[in-house]
Amino acid sequence: MSKLRLLFVKEAQASWISHLDLMRTFQRAFPRTELDIRHSQGYHPHPILSIVLPLPVGQSSDCELLDFEVVQESDGAGIAERLNTGMPRGLRVLDCYPAARPVRELAWLRADLWLEYDGGVPAEAAEKLRELFSSPSLVIQKRTKRKELAEVDIAPMIRAVSLTEEEGVIRADVTVQAQNPGLNPQLLGKAIERYLPELAPDFIRVRRRAVLDADGRDFR
């Protein structure tokens, strides 16, 4: 038996595949590897397969991780290539290797946010946003799992924000808490809407760039 981990890219059309559908997509691709995924015991056995930090639908990522267990002994060599022969567009496996590090060591995630302004970036937007994201408290409304609205302060979950102005766009390179609790970087847009509504962008595009451990090194 081996515990393996996949590193994969999810982008373009594939960024619209939901978490459950993504699991199904991988399950269908696994027979190509000739490895047998371990199944849970019980009346309705299900494959042991988990995506480490599910990506919100619509976002892209360079660094998705999927953990799974196989019946055979394997170090993951050649698996990525075989999986890639059966993937939809926008899903690409970069690597497969033994899952050595426990997931709890994953602490931060880094993402790029493109704040799109259809009428051009408003004057001094970057400075004002920089100031906003350095304030000690940023309370936004967020739906809880029970679908109720709750006030949440997201400032403590933001580690770094760096802003660059490009053509019609402000790019925000953000580092936020990954788990317990994690912060969806998209919610930075909610903070803008609440505190600087005149700077609310027309659209926010998000791409996850890296998952990091507590020391800020890539988590693999």
Binding site: A14, L22, R28, P31, M87, P88, R89, G90, D202
Partner: protein, 610 residues
Amino acid sequence: MDKRLERILPRVQKPARYVGGEYNAVIKDRAEVDTRVAFCFPDTYEIGMSNLGMRILYGVMNEMPGVWCERVYAPWGDMEQEMRRAGMPLFALESGDPVADFDIVAFSVGYEMAFPCMLNMLDLAGIPLHSAERTGLTPLVVAGGTAMYNAEPMADFLDIVSLGEGEDSTVELIQLHRRARREGWSREEFLRCAARVPGLYVPGLYDVTYHDDGTVAAITPLQGAPAVVTKRIVTDMDKSYFPVKTIVPSTEIVQDRVMLELFRGCIRGCRFCQAGYVYRPVRSRSADLCARYGVEACNDSGYQEVTLSSLSTSDYPPLTELCDELEPFCDRRHVNLSLPSLRADNFSMGIMQRLARGRKTGLTFAPEAGTQRLRDVINKNVTLEELLRSCHTAFAGGYNAVKLYFMLGLPTETDEDVLGIADVAARVMHAWREAAPNKNRGVRITVSTSWFVPKPHTAFQWEPQISREEYERRVKLLREAITTKTVTYNWHDSATSVIEAVLARGDRRLCRVLETVWRKGATLDAWEEYFSFERWQEAFAACGVDPAFYANRRRERDEIMPWSMISSGVTEDYLWREYQRSLKGLTTPDCRTRCNGCGANRLVGGKCDV
């Protein structure tokens, strides 16, 4: 990805259905393509992607050099609203290009209730609705599928109707269209030529006149169009295209498994069943080939379920051999076989043991009617004893749920027949008591009734549909007769069946009704969420059309049916003979027992290989 689409997607349900990019979706280089086909299914992605016919023709067309066939599905209401607001026209999934820019816009339509959706899709695409308003060679609007055996309610909107199986005629149509574009033919010239291709019906080349009483007086073919267009079929299933490498959706669809087609046609001859008549004659694919396709399709797609598909799977002669042949592969790869269309008269222990091992959830049988008399009228040819024996076998084998399908409103039905349904359910319950090895788990018996809709090209095409009040009375009668708690009774919503009955045997005067109902907001009317009976009633009233004329009227033998220019290969004389036999309660044996002379044998050169 289109920027407008990207902005819309976060706000709609199940966005994955609108982006394409699935494994095996065909992408071609625009520079190497001279014919673009937008293959439209007038329903949602989940329904359309579950259609095997569409997968076959998608493969056939994309195998043609220079042809790029792409898929188009109807957007759900939220998506349609967003698209209209953003000014985004209907687009094809593979390229994202607007449908209006394609050379051919082809619809696959299996159900009359999808007609308003076709109009809505044309409108979303920005294509003029009426055939007469489209002046050029492109886009050419074509439709095929079972609902097109009576295309008359859609006649004004379609340029060409493709009848029967499209594997060959689609290729011929594309080649003709390509030639017409290359040589600069006029649209009229092209349509005249298309009408001479066997299996292609050009509605605009037929003039229909009516008697004062509203029935059809004459159908006159114009400009050399044939008086009768006969459907096309594939004669040799072993040589016909099978989509081994087929699109694997990245989101869940209705038939999310390998669909392995064993045979076409049906030997049975149930008199209400349109599919049973229009798909004739029976043509089987050899078991070896089916097994090979099944394995290859699983290997390519990664699916772990194969459905053995046909109109009546237990009538496939080498069914056990096929299951046995697939068994080692299924075991190794944890693949389950499912058999959706079983008959209660030849369901055996052998078949049962090969079904979904481990998970014995439920079995479904369709006795269709509650008494032997009525089952004889419809030629179902299943006896109560056979049904009970099958249920007994299933219960003894560990099944603890059975679904039973019936129809209400069948010709000659009496209250005794209705009550007979409750009796059948009670006897099935009794069979469980006798056979179940472990009664602690209980049993679930589900009785479902639908409302019989007389369809064209069947023995009951002359029959009226019973009135809505009468249908509802019979539902109530049955509901009150089913008293056992273990029996659940579901009945089909009645209003949809009324409209279905009108459209199924409608004529060209319904084109106006369809346009009116669509303008009043009808789109995905096959869905309860969107269907509005009131809207249809308003449309009938606005057009001065009496729905009862189409749904509830008994036709005479000499009446010209609006779809008389279409032949499924089965003769009208045969259908009438079957109708007369049914009224006398006489059954007709299946095609394997004896040839009954339906006429479909002429499609395969005289003798069917049953």
